[in-house]
Point group: C2
């Protein structure tokens, strides 16, 4: 058990990663022992560096921060994870906690609170952005079924129903039905709108 808390940083933007490292380096009881730019490098780097807390951004190429948190929970049960993200979507918070994250912080929070959040997470406490905690309760669960999420995720990139059907290996008619259902559940009238709304709410 070391005197300092060993922190791993995971963010795809090198500049932000370096900046966060500089910020945390100001704290005498924190030590940045590893930096990675991809979600699939988190577990290996955390093991190699014996990190105590992993700071994970959600938006990363390949494996995102939520999946990385789940991987850390499964592979390194003693390591805590703290998800830091740009967008305060309620769905993100819920999914992050389900993935075993101990904390959830938005990038809007003051810089000084980050170090404190790291300490709390390391102490075994849960840290959740207060502005999101209430929103998350009001929001509730994801009403979309798995197939609806899948179809809507592909629809997010545009393309026709036939193209979507090819990607998800479904009949075009079934794709239309799922899209129609998703449109109804999001209160929209177009699949483009539905995909946008669903993504904003973290339902994808």
């Amino acid at each position: 058990m070391s005197a300092t808390i060993k922190v791993l940083l995971a963010d795809d933007q090198a500049l932000v990663r370096g900046a966060l490292a500089a910020l945390l380096a100001l704290e005498p009881d924190l030590e940045v022992v590893a930096e990675v730019g991809r979600g699939d490098e988190v577990v290996d780097a955390a093991r190699a560096s014996a990190a105590d807390v992993c700071l994970l951004d959600i938006e990363m190429p390949g494996v995102d921060g939520i999946a990385a948190a789940a991987a850390v929970r499964d592979a390194l049960p003693g390591v805590r994870t703290l998800v830091v993200t740009t967008f305060g979507r309620p769905g993100y918070l819920r999914r992050a906690l389900e993935a075993g994250a101990s904390g959830f912080v938005v990038k809007d929070t003051p810089a000084r609170q980050l170090a404190e959040a790291v300490r709390r997470v390391h102490a075994g406490l849960r840290v959740v952005d207060p502005s999101l905690a209430t929103e998350s309760l009001v929001d509730g669960a994801n009403p979309l079924t798995e197939r609806e999420r899948e179809v809507l995720g592909v629809a997010l990139r545009g393309g026709t129903v036939a193209a979507i059907a090819g990607v998800v290996h479904l009949s075009p008619g079934t794709v239309r039905n799922h899209l129609s259902s998703a449109i109804g559940k999001t209160g929209t009238s177009t699949r483009a709108e539905a995909a946008r709304v669903a993504q904003e709410r973290g339902w994808l």
Copy 2:
């Protein structure tokens, strides 16, 4: 003429702002004299703090970083601006330079280069991310007409042709023609795809 370079930070994410401040504070010849979270506060803050260089993020609520750069150029001709952004869209680079920015850096760049970029900008040099400079030349100018951009920008949010027509005060048929033209110019087959592609290329 002061010994240190006075830097103003503009980024809507408080955490990133603080982290960048910590990063730049490591350099003895740089001094962060102001931090703002909105584009429309840049000019006033730069004037009040007598900043030499303004570090501007593009993605900001209200006035974005590009518009802020133009405002600084008009109001404070002696102040240099350096645009820092998440997305390396060629169109952003061109528009930033047109707005009078002296530099353009992506958040993917190594942290150490940021301080160097600030020094070069302060010295009157242009700093452009090399990976984007070539792309920008290949890409060329924005092929979309003003009305096409307008219509496509509204189409980005989804909604039907009639809804778009209502927003831009045009006939539905005209909206369809503009969308059709934009679809052709983007090489796509759907307005949702066209809007996405156009945004990725910085054409909006």
